[in-house]
């Protein structure tokens, strides 16, 4: 079941790296894996619609803002890491700060039907393509 899973990711990562290395384009500015602005986004296709899955560990639901317009989705918020007073810190790896990121998708969205779900530090955005944007078949008379 799971055996088929790891491969498409790897293939896509390698392809993206190869393409970016070749073009050296600054269009997207950032590398694909684990670099660039927080939060990292994975986008998947679901029929006509797009599903974006975003990792936001430690971000509270209330401090998260999602806005959508035309073909942009903005994700903003604050990730906070706090320690109680008077403790001795042994290890500090988690990062904190404010983030604001806009995801542009190649289709027009229907902002009214966007669904956002946040659970276990993962934000899932269902981004439906707007009906106006969908191709229409034309009857040939």
């Amino acid at each position: 079941m799971i055996t088929t899973f790891a491969d498409p990711f790897d293939a896509l990562f390698n392809l993206q790296r190869a393409l970016e290395g070749r073009l050296a384009s600054d269009w997207l500015h950032d590398q694909t894996t684990s670099q660039g602005p927080f939060p990292p986004i994975n986008a998947f296709q679901q029929g006509d619609d797009i599903l974006a899955i975003i990792e936001l560990p430690g971000v509270e639901k209330d401090s998260l803002q999602v806005q959508a317009k035309e073909n942009n989705v903005r994700i903003a918020g604050r990730k906070s890491v706090s320690f109680p007073q008077g403790v001795s810190i042994h290890r500090r790896e988690r990062t904190s700060g404010a983030f604001d990121r806009t995801l542009s998708v190649p289709v027009q969205l229907d902002p009214g039907r966007i669904k956002a779900e946040y659970r276990d530090g993962i934000l899932a955005l269902h981004l439906p393509r707007s009906e106006r944007d969908k191709p229409r078949s034309i009857k040939i008379s």
């Binding site: 079941m1 799971i2 055996t3 899973f5 790891a6 498409p8 990711f9 896509l12 990562f13 993206q16 694909t32 894996t33 684990s34 670099q35 660039g36 602005p37 927080f38 939060p39 990292p40 986004i41 994975n42 986008a43 998947f44 296709q45 679901q46 797009i50 599903l51 990792e55 936001l56 560990p57 430690g58 971000v59 509270e60 639901k61 990730k79 890491v81 320690f83 109680p84 008077g86 403790v87 001795s88 810190i89 042994h90 290890r91 500090r92 790896e93 988690r94 990062t95 904190s96 700060g97 404010a98 983030f99 946040y118 276990d120 530090g121 993962i122």
Partner: protein
């Protein structure tokens, strides 16, 4: 530490384990904060996507091992368009320096962040000695 610097994505470190897994799933090291109070050792681990029930915590021979399993069936059949991070299970272990009361370990999962409270045993707590 509140800086205007843009928050960057942390590179997921992959676990280099001696044993191999039987299923081809990646294992990542969760980013962790560890701090100590007078009575407890606190370990905070970031494991986005891991549900409460899929975490196992174990202390053996003063090694704390934490494992978080991702429900990969949710990703089954999805067509990736653009990806920025990889997914997999989380696994990390720490050698503990002070004695821990294993029966009183408390764990809490919030927004993909696992917080562990490991109470020290009585003799490991700092004691004040009265000078006569």
């Amino acid at each position: 530490m509140a800086s205007a610097q843009e928050l960057q994505v942390q590179k997921k470190r992959e676990l280099e384990s001696k044993e191999e897994t039987t299923i081809p799933v990646r294992q990542f090291l969760p980013a962790s904060d560890i701090y100590e109070t007078e009575s407890d050792l606190m370990v905070v681990l970031e494991m986005p996507g891991v549900e409460k029930g899929n975490v196992s915590i174990n202390v053996e021979n003063s090694v704390l091992s934490v494992e978080g399993r991702l429900d990969l069936t949710k990703y089954q059949g999805l067509q990736p368009l653009y990806t920025e991070y990889n997914i997999g299970n989380y696994s990390r272990s720490f050698r503990l320096s002070s004695k821990i009361d294993q029966n009183k370990i408390a764990a809490e999962m919030n927004d993909g962040v696992l917080s562990l409270r490991l109470p020290k045993v009585e003799e490991a707590k700092p004691q004040t000695i009265q000078v006569k």
